[in-house]
């Protein structure tokens, strides 16, 4: 219990800060904070996959696309409640993640990276093919748009719920199995862990998280789901966020999400970096520098600082 106290305290602090923000910030800044929440959800999911199974995915933008299109199409064609579409995005992406995760059973390391990269390139092509249903290059729009504050609330509520869900999953038997898979696949099998089940499960969970994030992202872009929004760059941004975040730390994931979500806006006033290309330069350089200087990301940095403070 004593070990839990600081964790709960920092959780409450974050929650308090977040619920105060909408009253303090301008509408524009609230929308930015909502964006951070969206990336928080996606990076949290990726963190479960990469952090707890040692698997790497370069293709989770594909699941964001699927989640986003779920929301747009359901809202457009059936006027489904937006929150319900998010649940649907979660469920659909979970199932698709399980199905697409089946190949992941047989792949590891760079092979999985290759396959997920190809997935990320392929999925945004599908709306172009089935343009009648998915709107082609122009995309699909939700039947109603939402306010910044609504989006903010939805994004951070989803973040909170999914964070608790992740915590519940990871502290129990499943979490132990995930960690065993990460540390050594062969040893994990030897100790009776059903590798395929857990690898697929981790993939499915992270896909479901990405789906919710994609659903929120569509709402953040005025309800438009379009192929260009979900290109390979989005997948790479998630990876940037995950690399900045490091593993298994709330603060790390917040830092990663803030970095990816805020950099475009923060840098827009800055000359050179302000353009979208300059931003890519910063993103790319950030990944390389983080891997060179902070191989464990922000989480690793925190751990090091804590150790320094104690010493």
């Amino acid at each position: 219990m004593r070990r839990l106290l600081p964790a709960i305290a920092s959780l409450l602090a974050v929650a308090g800060l977040l619920s105060a923000l909408p009253f303090v910030l301008s509408a524009y800044n609230v929308s930015l904070a909502a964006r951070v929440g969206i990336f928080f959800v996606a990076i949290l999911g990726l963190n479960i996959l990469t952090g707890y199974t040692g698997q790497i995915s370069i293709g989770h933008g594909a699941f964001m696309a699927i989640g986003g299109y779920t929301t747009a199409v359901m809202s457009q064609d059936h006027h489904t409640n937006l929150v319900v579409t998010m649940l649907m995005a979660f469920a659909i992406c979970f199932v698709l993640g399980l199905i697409l995760g089946l190949p992941a059973l047989r792949l590891s390391g760079v092979y999985l990276a290759l396959a997920t990269f190809a997935l990320a390139v392929s999925v945004p092509q599908l709306p172009l093919k089935w343009s009648k249903f998915l709107g082609g290059r122009d995309g699909v729009q939700t039947s109603r748009t939402v306010s910044h504050v609504w989006l903010y609330g939805a994004a951070w509520a989803a973040s909170a719920i999914l964070f608790v869900l992740a915590w519940l999953i990871l502290r129990g038997r499943v979490g132990r199995a995930f960690r065993a898979v990460r540390d050594s696949e062969i040893a994990a099998v030897a100790s009776g862990i059903e590798l395929p089940v857990y690898k697929t499960l981790a993939f499915g969970i992270s896909a479901a998280y990405a789906g919710v994030a994609g659903s929120l992202l569509v709402l953040a872009t005025n309800g438009f789901a379009e192929p260009s929004e979900f290109g390979i760059v989005l997948s790479l941004q998630l990876l940037v966020g995950a690399a900045v975040a490091g593993l298994g730390s709330l603060w790390g994931i917040l830092a990663g999400a803030a970095f990816v979500g805020l950099l475009p806006a923060v840098s827009s006033g800055v000359p050179v970096i302000g353009s979208s290309h300059g931003r890519d330069v910063v993103f790319g350089a950030a990944v390389v520098l983080v891997m060179l200087l902070l191989p464990d990301g922000f989480a690793g940095l925190l751990k090091r600082l804590r150790r320094l403070a104690r010493a």
Partner: protein, 337 residues
């Protein structure tokens, strides 16, 4: 820690057995495929044109795939930035032409620049991370993907650039089939480059050192091979092959834009996996197979339109990984605890 080690145990691997076990079915398949193509070409003009064009494009994919394989074989790292690096060097060539060089002067100058760029990236950014973790190094190459993309957009802008055609606009007529000189030209340039790289590996002391360093780094150091240099030179050569791919991809697209190599990278991944990620010959053959089949499939299979080229390549990639992860020519990898 699980370590990847390329095996089979030497005592089990008699040359005859290895070839007898794997190659004949594969080569039979390839010969049958080639025969099928020939028959098709004789029967239909469109088919012949598509085949030639597919071979030329396939050579480009194969060249980039070979670059990926060279890097993978030496360091177990898949270089996601290989395509963007190729795209960037193509912009360098465009810039050199703008500054007054002729096409072929710019071509060779670009290859030299690509070599330097490849080595510098390996030494400065990839090697320090790779010593800690291979996946970390893969993430670095993803970072380079974004970085290079950003730099190119920043320096040269996103609008189309036009380069002079290296092969003119001449059109050959072979037995009633019109073929633009571009395609045999592309094919020839890529194949000459591939053969030169192959000869370097096969017949020179440097090439021997590079192969030795890729297979057995520890033993290579014991006989005096500078393994670090070999890996850096390997990255340089891969960048050169990538540059050839980029320079030959440009005329086939008729213009230069920053996304030039992104689809091609996916096709090259599919080609490399199809051929076997550690087989250089497989990469080239895989490239040709992917190039031709993409072209023919889009034309003759109604369900697969040109938007579905990348998903098709993805399906090939995943299919190969599931059914035969070692690809057509690869060797089995044994995972050890």
């Amino acid at each position: 820690m699980a370590a990847l080690e390329s095996s089979p145990r030497p005592s089990l691997r008699r040359r005859g057995a290895a070839l007898g076990g794997v190659v004949p079915p594969v080569s039979l398949l390839l010969v049958a495929g080639a025969a099928g193509l020939l028959v098709g070409c004789l029967r239909s003009e469109v088919f012949a044109q598509l085949t030639v064009q597919g071979l030329a494009l396939g050579a480009v994919y194969g060249s980039l795939a070979l670059a990926l394989v060279l890097v993978y074989r030496a360091t177990r790292v898949v270089n996601f930035a290989q395509g963007e690096l190729a795209m960037a060097t193509t912009y360098v060539a465009w810039q050199l032409i703008q500054w007054g060089l002729s096409y072929w002067e710019a071509f060779f100058a670009t290859l030299a620049i690509a070599f330097v760029l490849g080595t510098v990236l390996e030494v400065a950014l990839v090697r320090p991370v790779q010593q800690r973790s291979v996946i970390g190094a893969v993430i670095v190459t993803v970072g380079l993907f974004i970085l290079i993309d950003g730099v190119v957009n920043w320096v040269w802008g996103g609008e189309f650039k036009y380069m002079p055609s290296p092969f003119g606009t001449k059109i050959y007529h072979v037995g009633g089939v019109s073929i633009a000189r571009l395609y045999p030209g592309m094919l020839a340039v890529v194949l000459v480059s591939v053969v030169l790289v192959w000869a370097l590996f096969r017949f020179t002391k440097l090439g021997l050192g590079m192969r030795a360093a890729a297979f057995r780094p520890a033993e290579s150091a014991l006989v005096g091979v500078r393994v670090d240099w070999m890996l850096a030179i390997g990255w340089g050569l891969a960048a050169v092959l990538g540059a050839v791919a980029g320079l030959m991809a440009e005329p086939s697209q008729f213009f230069l834009e920053p996304t030039l190599m992104q689809p091609i990278l996916v096709y090259a991944f599919a080609a490399a996996v199809l051929g076997g990620l550690d087989s250089p010959a497989g990469a080239v053959v895989g490239g040709l197979v992917i190039g031709v089949s993409l072209n023919l499939v889009v034309q003759y299979v109604p369900a697969i339109s040109s938007e579905l080229q990348a998903p098709f390549a993805f399906a090939v990639l995943v299919g190969v990984l599931l059914l035969k992860p070692t690809g057509l020519f690869g060797r089995r990898e044994v995972r050890r605890v």
